[in-house]
Every structure is written in C-alpha cells, then in structure tokens.
Symmetry: C2
Subunit: 420 residues, 2 copies
Amino acid sequence: MSAMNAFYAQSGGVTAVINASACGVIETARKNKDRIANVYAGRNGIIGALTEDMIDTNRESASTIAALMHTGGGAFGSARYKLKGLEENRAEYERLIEVFAAHNIGYFFYNGGNDSMDTAHKVSQISKRMGFPVTCLGVPKTVDNDLPITDNCPGFGSVAKYVAVSTQEAALDVASMAETSTKVFVLEVMGRHAGWIAAAGGLAGSEPGDAPHIILFPEVPFNKAAFLKRVKFCVQNYGYCVIVVSEGAAYKNGKFLAEAGTRDAFGHAQLGGVAPVVAGMVRDNLGYKYHYAVADYLQRSARHIASATDVKQAYAVGKAAVEFALKGHTAVMPVIKRKSDKPYRWTIEKAPLSRIANKEKMLPKKYITKDGFGITEACRRYLSPLIKGEDYPPYVNGLPKVAKLKGISVKPKLHKKFVV
Amino acid sequence: MSAMNAFYAQSGGVTAVINASACGVIETARKNKDRIANVYAGRNGIIGALTEDMIDTNRESASTIAALMHTGGGAFGSARYKLKGLEENRAEYERLIEVFAAHNIGYFFYNGGNDSMDTAHKVSQISKRMGFPVTCLGVPKTVDNDLPITDNCPGFGSVAKYVAVSTQEAALDVASMAETSTKVFVLEVMGRHAGWIAAAGGLAGSEPGDAPHIILFPEVPFNKAAFLKRVKFCVQNYGYCVIVVSEGAAYKNGKFLAEAGTRDAFGHAQLGGVAPVVAGMVRDNLGYKYHYAVADYLQRSARHIASATDVKQAYAVGKAAVEFALKGHTAVMPVIKRKSDKPYRWTIEKAPLSRIANKEKMLPKKYITKDGFGITEACRRYLSPLIKGEDYPPYVNGLPKVAKLKGISVKPKLHKKFVV
C-alpha cells in the first residue's frame, strides 16, 4: 500500500487543548511516513477542504508541531459550518471528495463535536459510494462534554478546571468582603443544553457552607421562589452566596433565563447574559449588593490553567485516531474509557461514529442533589480526576508562548473555485 | 523599650496578593519578638478594631502564615469602611485608640489604597493628641494602581497579568473562529477612574494587527463614530476585532458608557456591564457577530496566575512597613522605586502618608497612543516587568491549596460594645 495524504480539520468552538489533538494526529502521522505522506490541515476547518485552502504541515518544524501542545485557540482555524444532508447538498460532498482525490487524501481526521462526527460519518459513506473511499476518523473535542460513549470530551477538563479554580478564587474574595460589601456573586458559565461545566464549579467547595452555594443547571427547571429562598438562607447563615449559573438555565416552559425580558436603550431584547438577570432578581427581591462575571470565551480558551489530564487525553485521542486509521478502521472515533476513579485510570477504545453523531449526553440525575442546586458525591467522583494536574505553558515576558505556524498553503490542483 | 503589640488590617477590595503583604508583616514581626509581641489582625478589617474583634496571629503556625503567600482573597477579612473626618466622627477614632490602648497596640499596619492611607495618617495624628501615640504605617494595595509616588501598587501586577493573558487567549480563540463565527470580542475589565488595568490588556499583542485592536480607557472620552470606524477597519483587515474596555469608559460629558440607557424588564436602569453596551453598539451599527466577557472579581482574585514580581513586591512592602516602624518611622508608607526597566530592578523606599492619602494616579497621556485606542512603547516598558514571572500556588486535587486559619479571637478587654 503506497502512502497517501491525510486531511485534518478543526471544527466548531475551539478549546484550550484542541491543538494538543492536532499535535497527536500530526506527530503520529509523521512516525508513519510510509503510510501517511503528509497531513494537510484545513484552513478554517472543513471550509479549507471545500475551497482547496489547506496548510502543508510538513513545512512546519517538529518544534512548532510540539508547541501545539501548549497553544490555545485553533492553530489552523476552525469553522462553524455544518455540511447539510446529502440530499440537500450533494455538491458539497462531491466537492470534498474531488479535493481529497486531487490531493491523494485517503484519511480524514475531523476534530469536533456531535455535528462533526455526523459529517465524518457521512463522508465515509459517500466517499465509498463515489469510488474514492476515505478512511474517516472522528477526534473528539467539545467543552460541552456532551458526546456519548466516551468518558469525557477533550476540552472539557480544562474548562472544568478553569471554572472550579475561578469559583474558588472569587469565593475567597467575596467571603472576605461580605461583611461590608458584596454579598452575592454570580458566575455565568457555558453550557447551552448540558450542565457539565456548571457542575464543575461545584468542585470548588466540599464542606457544607462552602461556595458555590447554588448551581443553576439547564437540566433543572428554574424555580425563582426556591432560588431566592436559598440565596437568603446562604447570606443569613454563611454571610454570602456564590452562584454558578449555566447559560442554558431555563424555566419549566423551556424559556431561557437569559431571555427574561431585558431590553436595551433601543428596545431590542438583549442577547446573552443570564448572570445579570439572576443578579437583578437578587437585587430586586432581596436587595443584597451583588457582582457578576461572565466568563464567556475566557473559560474555553484558558490554556494557562489547562488540566494536565485533559492535555494528555487530547493528545491521546489524536494519536489513537491515526493508529486506528492505520489499522484499517473507519467511521470510528477514539473514546476515553474510565477504568477507575481513584486512582484515575483510563484507556482509549473506539466507537462507531453512527453511535455518536448527533447525540447529546446530559448531566445524569444522580449527579444533581435533590434540591437541584448542587452536585452529588457521584458527580464529584466523576469530575474530580478530569481537572487534576497542571500543564503550564512556557512563558516569555510574562505571557504564554504560543506556536507560530508558517501556515504555507498546499498548491491548489483544481481549477474550479468553490463558494461556501 | 518593652514589646508592644501590632494591629494589622486589610482594607477595601482584596487582591490576589494582599495576603502576601500580611505574610510580610507577620513574618517580619515574628523576627522581632522583642519589639512586637503579637500581631493582632482585624477581623473584617478596621471593623475588627472598632468592635474589638481581632484574630490572634500568634496562634497560627509558621506554615499557615507562610501559606498566606499563595492564598487569594483577604485571609482576615477586609472591609469597605471609611472612617470619617475627625470632626464628623470623633467617637470612632477615640474608640480605635481605646482598643489599641487596652491591647497595648503600639503599631498600626493598614493594608489598603488611598482612603486607607488617609485613615492611617489620621490615626497617627489623633493617637498622639490623645496621649497614646501609635506608630502608623500604610501598606500599599490596590488593583487600580492609582497610588501616587510608588512605581506601582501590589495587587496590580497580578490583575495586569490576568488581563494580558486572558486577552491573548481569547484573541487566539476568536481569531481561529472569525471566518464563520464571532468577529468581535469585548472584554470588560476593572478601573472606574484609571485605565491601568485596561492598558495591561495591550501587552497581549505587540505587532500591528495583533489583538487587542482597541482599548477603551476612562482617560479618553468615548467617540462612538471613531470607535465603530476602527472596529470595521479591524474586521475588514484582520478578520476580527478584540476590544478591552475599562468599566470606567465614559463619554465626554462624564457619563459612563455602562449607564447608556440599558433597562431591565422592570424599567430599572441596569447597573454595571459596559461590555454588553459596547457589544450592542457593534451589533446595531455593524451587524457583526460578537461575544463579550465580564471578568469582574475573577481578575482581581486570580491567584493562580499571579505575577511573581507582584507577589515579591507585596511581601516586600509588608516586610518594609514593619522594618520602618521598628526604626521609628510613622505616618509613612513603603513605596516601590523603579531603578531600571530592563532588567527590571526596584527597591523599597518610604513616603509620607500625607503625600499619598486621597490622591489618584491616572494613566499618563504619554502611555496612550494618539488615536486613543492603544498603548505606547513607554507604557509597555512600564507595564511589562510588572507581569513577569509565574508564582503558582500548590495544588491539591486540581485546585489551589489555600491557608486555613484557626482564626482564634483575642479576648476582648473592654466591656463596651461598639456598633459601627
């Protein structure tokens, strides 16, 4: 079997460790030059394949590729771009295969979440039907931690660590000031549908009375009266109240708290920001002085406080994807299999993309305390190992040093422009 | 001279390194047991003195005191509580001296910002007049970096590092997604009057086109047309635009942007949040997809990414305060004197509290670029050494380990309750 090229693309919202997966893919491919001649990386994800705009990773030095391990963001550019169903947009799939064929690309590594696994799955099927079978591997990545089968998703452990550390730090701050100043602090975190990230805030405390005192999950319908009662209880008993709220927190009827009628000067419904809504409720009903933070991209990009476990796993799934591909597996994704909680032991297995695509793993009920405001011991056992270990980037002049890619383009071979 | 006790209090908003100053005070006092028998720390700052609620630091082990070096928040509790003028509230000053006298407190170390330096100054004068002269030392602390004379203020370097690192990280994220997703990212940082913290965001980039592309300082009147023009230019030329905005950004007439007419569902003017206002302007006028983060307390409490320079200086000013006191100086504050930028060399001198109290140091004009949206090379030279070095706390189970004080109270000696 003569060597073919591989195509690697980053997809969807980036994470602090997605480049560690890229590193795993590229370094492993480089060790198998006889099978994979080059890894072409899509500039801006799958769009780079469609527009024949690919980065020649063979032109990057070993040290640059190694530096991807500690570089945040998506080094090759990612994209929020979902290929439609085959019936709706056959042209896109055909173009993809055409580009793959032109560049002798026999391997497709797609680094993303649910949607991307669906795409990788479809590409594997279509390429076969079109007579140019491509080995398609998913490489899991999502801060949302909502992919099924895998124990967790690379990217999540680092957000979880950021949120747990930030909650602990802010709580120390608020606790020391509460006598005369802020009594209620609200931290808004990501998670539109699943409360995994919010749950991670719960790791900041372990004793009764420890912050965070309240977590608002998307999985638990918001009960304003119960919430306010609990805030009041915390302030009266602990002197302050720290709240971690998921952006997806919603009422029983499904309406997001963030849509709760806040309007700007022009009367536009104000987008985003569940934290000010929750804080406003506290102010209007209890009158406590409050502060709120919206972590937004800071949480998912925080490579400086990445979890060492997460970095290792992100690399491992990239490496395993290449190894599975070379063993002839296709339409699969490496998954992390937990073997024990304490000590935390895990291994990499594989699962068919068909079982992963378009499925969401929510926070199970047993991970949420009965009152709906906290995490259980079972949840703590699950989450705790994922934030373990610090994997600090190197610093220059007080700032993290990041990989600087040459980013040299692969020469296009098709003389047709494709507009996405 | 027989040994007396010292009173130490934390004041105002806490910082990531205020406890390092406490450590400097206590460890240095412990080395001089013949002069300072014990350091009593005010529970919740100066309120602890007024209510005779003080923590006996002699009851804390050497390792607990050492652990203050890497513990965020204010370990003894801080307070937003300003003693009024002597004429308005003589009773408070008299009570303070009464408590000091009852507990044989001959030294007062007040760890705070402008207001606290004013208080320390007044206490030094009043105690003398009342016949119980107390040696009063200020210990500088403020994330706002607005104290005069001193090169910088302990607490600031760590916020500056947090903001610079976070800006760099979020920029990597946005840059990699901008082709198909968010094009404008807004990070709101602290600084009601002075733009030091916002300026620190500027350290994230150094080449033209690097993020942050726009900084909005309180010192520069906001010009909406010029701002929008610049955002558009950045998106068109660099593909994205990262904005760091100070909470104190204001119009020419002094009105804060954050007050720009946003109202909640009840018609209340919405408090806080300049980031959504700025982001909303971008949306309404340019239509770009945006995200925003509000760092709030996360920035000032982020001990996990504290600047090593800052930690060292915070300890040094605490230590120097005790040393100055033992040399007989009173009504002074240790100040940091910069001796060179590169390599960064500094030493500790002293300045009279009268020259520091109630004065604010704004960002000088020469630190802001002509267009008002960036920092100059001079500013970079000033800021850069302050964020240098990483001083990581120890971790247990993925979370920073913090000092746990016994917090044993000093037995009250006065049989009069004082209500603050």
